[in-house]
């Protein structure tokens, strides 16, 4: 399975779409070369990749992406208010987010999501040893209620990611 041409369907489809978008056309030449490249590149680069947990539920993943997009819009409007207010009213803070996820790929997606939704930036994975329980250090622009923020982030982003990648808890 791992050595077959269509081993990573999501990567192949994404490569094909990016190829078409780069050429700005759907002429037969572009489509044909796109299909060939989308099959050959993942096959040729299979040795470079480490084994990552696969996405098990594509529908849920699509819904997750849409939800993140919507959150970006909503939270941006909240950040606008904070930015335009007085500097002395700011309440920035560092927060530790306890993690249930362990695999690198879902963790990366979680950190990127937290970075993209305004008001929070993920800073570091603590502690750095792999077997100890891990925390993600966040910087929050406007920290009102730490416990509420942590439980919301866990519920809204971490739980769906666990379902999408079907990680055991």
């Amino acid at each position: 399975m791992r050595n077959s041409l269509f081993a990573t369907p999501l990567r192949s489809v994404l490569l094909f779409l990016v190829w078409c978008a780069l050429h700005n056309s759907v002429s037969p030449v572009v489509l044909l070369s796109g299909v060939i490249l989308a099959l050959l590149i993942p096959w040729g680069s299979r040795g470079f990749r480490e084994v990552q947990p696969q996405i098990k539920r594509y529908g849920l993943f699509g819904r997750y992406l849409l939800m993140v997009l919507w959150d970006i819009v909503v939270a941006n409007l909240q950040v606008v208010k904070v930015v335009l207010g007085r500097n002395s009213a700011l309440k920035p803070g560092f927060v530790l987010l306890p993690l249930d996820l362990k695999e690198p790929m879902p963790l990366t997606i979680l950190a990127a999501t937290i970075c993209l939704t305004p008001g929070t930036v993920s800073a570091e994975l603590l502690p750095r040893e792999a077997d100890a329980p891990q925390f993600l250090l966040l910087h929050v622009l406007d920290l009102q209620d730490e416990a509420a923020l942590v439980s919301e982030l866990k519920q809204r982003y971490e739980a769906p990611l666990q379902e999408i990648f079907a990680c055991s808890v």
Partner: protein
């Protein structure tokens, strides 16, 4: 002006305002950690709406296929968190000063 042109103009104005807001935040906020929030956030939404406007202009009004803007948006949405993460790592490594009302400073790693 047609309805479509008004729609595109609205998207363009929103995008430009968010881009400006990111730069204002960069100039106004007190310390590096809060400043980081301004541009990385406002630009995602600002550029997002500019890309939408440009897509609408070329695909609907000019009736030509144009997908490259989508690639720009995709690339920026992937790279923006990575840049922000690297920048805040640099700030923590150099131990930049934080704003006096920052909470939870003791959670920062010691080294």
């Amino acid at each position: 002006m047609t309805v479509l042109e008004w729609l595109i103009s609205g998207l363009l104005c929103a995008g430009a305002l968010f881009v400006l807001l990111g730069s204002v935040a960069l100039l106004k906020l007190p310390d590096f950690y809060t400043r980081l929030h301004g541009p990385t956030k406002a630009t995602t939404l600002g550029l997002g709406s500019l890309v939408l406007a440009s897509m609408a202009f070329f695909n609907l009004q000019q009736q030509t296929l144009s997908l490259q803007q989508l690639l720009i948006a995709l690339f920026l949405f992937i790279s923006a968190p990575v840049t922000a993460h690297m920048l805040i790592k640099v700030a923590m490594h150099h131990k930049l000063k934080h704003h006096q009302s920052t909470q939870g400073v003791e959670k920062l790693p010691a080294d």
